[in-house]
Amino acid sequence: MTEDRFKHDEDLFCSGHRACPGCGAALTSKLVTEATGPQTILSMPTGCMEVTTTPYPESAWGISWIHNIFENSAAVAGGIETAYKSFSKRGKEGYTDKDDVNFVVLAGDGATFDIGIRSLSGMMERGHDVLYICYDNEAYMNTGIQRSGSTPMGAATTTTPAGKQSLGEDIRKKDMPSIAAAHGLEYVATASVAYPEDFKRKVKKALEIEGPKYIQIFAPCPRGWRHESKNTIKIARLAVETGLYPVFEMENGRITNTMKVKDRKPVEEYLKVQGRFKHLFKKEGGDEIIDYLQEVADVNAEKIGF
């Protein structure tokens, strides 16, 4: 019975996991495995994807997968990669050649922007041959929707609730791709689950490059963002179409490719379909936050050029 239960067939990220319907992170996980193929070792921090995919004795993963703790998945991946470097150099038997293994991290924004940034920074600085992918759902979803360094201005979370004196998050979103690029990375990219082929192409391209790479993918969370599960892709697309989440490739510090946006939409169209922003349309001062977010989108359009 157990043999069948753990059979993965061709899928490397399998059904049966506990993620919510419409989960952007689960979709990301599936796309990651489709792009990397089986010759992959994935390091994952504590978080939604970790708990929804590996309740012992089950696992949704058809690739080698490791979770240690919340804030060290980049260093764990660096350690694995270094071990393979040693195995290949020393000709150790029983191990796949380092050049034939993809070393990948898949982590949420809390593990990336906040608690794991030391581990990530060190891994990038040291030049480990690791692709770090952040699924960005803009808050700590696993613990129940608390704000992270990725939460955008104005978003209501359980630690930045809208209230009589509050319009939700009052700190701007951290610019993580620039922080990654500042480490001298050859390849940094952003993506959106609304454009799966674009994301998979970027993952494949990144894996061709020796050294550290960083990809950040916008992955809506219906539960945390208070939107219907069916709207995940729509919202992910609107984030790009409004200019709030620019999708680009940055090579050696320069933007080399952007997803062009024709007739950029006003940010309200993106904001109004999510419960986390609804107070902005009702409360006094909400319009100022909306204006600020529009400015963010306008600056993105100008700076990144789409």
């Binding site: 992959t40 012992y56 993963w61 030391r118």
Partner: protein
């Protein structure tokens, strides 16, 4: 051939002989010299390990964990605040049954900040599933590295191991030692051969989370592995003696070492380098015809309960001299020894001397005072001594203490 080596050089030589695949390294006084010496070996091509210059002890432990999960032999070193920073990943390494070997150059924990030695750092990791070895001298610190690898990487054990040596007192003292080479060690320490690795040719999920129906059993197996490590240490120490001729408490399965304790009325229990000074005092008393002896645990976790009970059961008084204090109770070693003796029905009085914290010298005179105090309680029942009189702070400078109402 014997060589004069500092403790840090000796540990580095032992690491070289064990030839790890991956060595993540981060400096902290007084451990730094170990990883510095190793970096020189790598720089000169004497050692071909991957030397990873990490950003913190936290990521030294994390890198070691990743490499160990991949199947590599790993080494790192730390102490004090650095060990604290490693604590979270190290606890999870034991839960995931990942063998790692660390040298710990024991140093006190802040605050106040202190770079000098005591055992407050490793004692704070007591419950983490890491095997803990304590060396008395430089040779033992060196040999324990090889023994730690042999035990930690045994697939029936598969746990992290801390090979402790007193900061400065052992790391920075030169002693004559017999180094060993990789070739000489090969019969004793086989290549690591893990049952599971992350190799993509046979995908595995490592570090799945457990719900209440599985968590207890997972930790129980770690506990059983700790207990089984006693047998493995016994085997390793015996074989080590056969090959290298150096014996570490063979008659006590390598878990404890004794000195003139067999017929002793007063037994002093202590860890690490302080036992050098205590030996001197024991000889002094023996010359006067007084039966004093030493029991030195070489291993603190797993705790050598049976071995300790056996050698302590006939004493008339016991002094536990330790460089640790579990704030709000007593020293960790004394607590454990009292707990160990509970099942024997023993009514031997046990005094707990807190001594040598943060590198404060414990001189011969200090030891003499402890012996004299312990002699006074000989033959008494613990209730006659009284709990409040068990704990005694060596050379406490009462003149600089605030008054009770100012504490």
């Amino acid at each position: 051939m014997a060589k004069m080596l500092t403790g840090y050089n000796a540990v580095a030589e032992a690491v070289k002989a064990c030839n790890p695949d991956v060595i993540p390294a981060y400096p902290i006084t007084p451990q730094t010299d170990i990883v510095e010496r190793i970096s020189e070996m790598v720089a000169d091509g004497e050692l071909t390990s991957e030397y990873v210059k990490v950003d913190s002890e936290f990521n030294a432990a994390s890198t070691a964990i990743g490499a160990s999960a991949a199947g590599a032999r790993v080494f790192t070193a730390t102490c004090s605040q650095g060990l604290k920073l490693m604590s979270e990943p190290l606890f999870s390494a034991s839960g995931m049954r990942l063998p790692l070997v660390l040298a710990v150059a024991n140093r006190s924990l802040s605050a106040p900040l202190s770079i000098w030695g005591d055992h407050t750092d490793t004692f704070a990791e007591r419950d983490g599933g890491m095997i803990q070895f304590y060396a008395e001298d430089v040779q033992e610190a060196m040999d324990n590295i090889a023994i730690a690898y042999r035990v930690a990487e045994d697939n029936e054990i598969s746990l992290p191991a801390l090979s402790c040596l007193d900061g400065f007192i052992l790391t920075h003292v030169q002693e004559g030692v017999e180094p060993f080479s990789e070739e000489e060690l090969s019969g004793f320490l086989p290549q690591r051969d893990p049952i599971y690795t992350l190799d993509p040719s046979n995908p595995k999920t490592m570090g799945a989370y457990a719900r209440p129906e599985h968590w207890t059993e997972t930790r129980y197996t770690v506990h059983k592995a700790q207990l089984k490590a006693k047998d493995k240490i016994a085997d390793a120490v015996e074989e080590f003696a056969d090959i290298f001729g150096r014996e570490y408490g063979l008659e006590h399965r390598g878990l404890i070492e004794t000195y003139r304790a067999e017929d002793a009325d007063v037994i002093l229990v202590a860890l690490g380098s302080i036992c050098g000074t205590i030996r001197y005092i024991v000889d002094e008393y023996r010359k006067k015809g007084e039966k004093i002896g030493i029991v030195r645990p070489r291993v603190y976790r797993p705790f050598p309960v049976e071995e300790l009970n056996k050698v302590l059961e006939d004493a008339e008084a016991i002094a536990v001299i330790e460089k640790d204090i579990s704030l709000g109770y007593q020293g960790g070693l004394a607590i454990d020894i009292k707990s160990a003796m509970y099942s024997t029905g023993s009514r031997i009085p046990i005094l707990n001397f807190i001594a040598g914290l943060a590198g404060r010298d414990v001189r011969k005179d200090n030891i003499r005072k402890m012996v004299e105090q312990t002699k006074e309680v000989r033959g008494k029942n613990p209730e006659d001594v009284g709990f409040e009189n068990e704990e005694r702070w060596d050379s406490l400078r009462t003149e600089i203490l605030p008054g009770d109402d100012e504490l």
